[in-house]
Symmetry: C2
Subunit: 217 residues, 2 copies
Amino acid sequence: MDGKGISKAVITRLPRYYRYLGELLENGVERISSNDLSKQMKVTASQIRQDLNNFGGFGQQGYGYNVRFLYNEIGRILGLDHVHSMIIIGAGHLGQALANYVKFEKRGFKIIGIFDINPNLKGSMVRGIGIQMLDELPKFLEEYTVEIATLTIPKDSAREVAELLVANGIKAIWNFAHIDLNLVLPSDIIVENVHLSESLMRLSYNLTHAENKQKKM
Amino acid sequence: MDGKGISKAVITRLPRYYRYLGELLENGVERISSNDLSKQMKVTASQIRQDLNNFGGFGQQGYGYNVRFLYNEIGRILGLDHVHSMIIIGAGHLGQALANYVKFEKRGFKIIGIFDINPNLKGSMVRGIGIQMLDELPKFLEEYTVEIATLTIPKDSAREVAELLVANGIKAIWNFAHIDLNLVLPSDIIVENVHLSESLMRLSYNLTHAENKQKKM
DNA sequence: TAGATTGTTAATCGATTAACAATC
DNA sequence: TAGATTGTTAATCGATTAACAATC
């Protein structure tokens, strides 16, 4: 009934369910059947039911699913029912953009520190948080409980910094550097990658092969 | 021998192969076998050979793969052998961060315009490009050939703007808004999503269920 | 109760891995 | 030539879809 042995594909779909349910909730929809939801999301009803039943029976025969209840349950499954403290390593454009992204805080991801190695940035404020130097990190991690470290630094220093983070107790890394940290860090460290250039390459691939794609439709 | 009927999973792996081959190239490695590469990438040699053979026989029995050749071939498959012109819609923190990301240009993604609706931003320069107002977009798209539009705007206006883009000839959208544009746009429009909050939720999921995960190891 | 819709088992489909003949 | 390694077919595994009995 919990997160053991759930396939990656299922986990990837959970946030999407959560998003659709949140919208239904906003629109005042009280209940929904897997069939109706499947039409909106363009997936099979069977998949929705299978996915949800990995975590428990949230529906009711003859009724469907209560939107608010299911929304909350998925939120709980995703760990959005409590606050996650976060730091950002790398106060470049991307790091600052993430720090300024209000929506994360609404979802319970609270940024409590920003670090960089560029002395010119020292003390600069980003959304009310002063940028600190990387060598202040160990002391900071002793003082504050931090769950997630966001890595927005160039690839070349990413491994070294990640190892420093892990040595100081960080358990999860949101990694924007183009390196497979999961292959170099201990296996119990959680790494979630956002590789923007790989995303752009997939787009480029689809653009380049658009003619063939068309044929299939 | 080309991009027809290639599965999404394969396409997702191509940029990763490209990255590893690029690193091998930098390190002066001339040739590599699927077996050696599989050890570095932590995938099966069989998968590497199967993936590559979707596009052609790039190797040689008894020798393996020539690194430079394979690197170039994958680059060509991904469409990185020619320049893609790009515009950014939404000059907020994220849009500006992307505009400032030098690496894209090195890969052939050339940003030639930035648009926003905030009149305060009009004329502001980002990496040498002046921010234009959204109502200047149709004229701009008549004048310049633009392949990709990057959408870094709030979800609420994303659909409308995307439809405007499509109406003016845009064929591919790099979408950072939390909406499934592919479901509302014509099916020949290419949409590549980067949903940061969904990535963060997956991280949160793995963090929340870390104990169970441990057990499996 | 009758109708609707879930939860769950069984069938199908597709992707990954293994095996090996072809060949450099 | 002998050894190495690919390209490709066959076997396995896992994920998706279909079907339906259970039940609200």
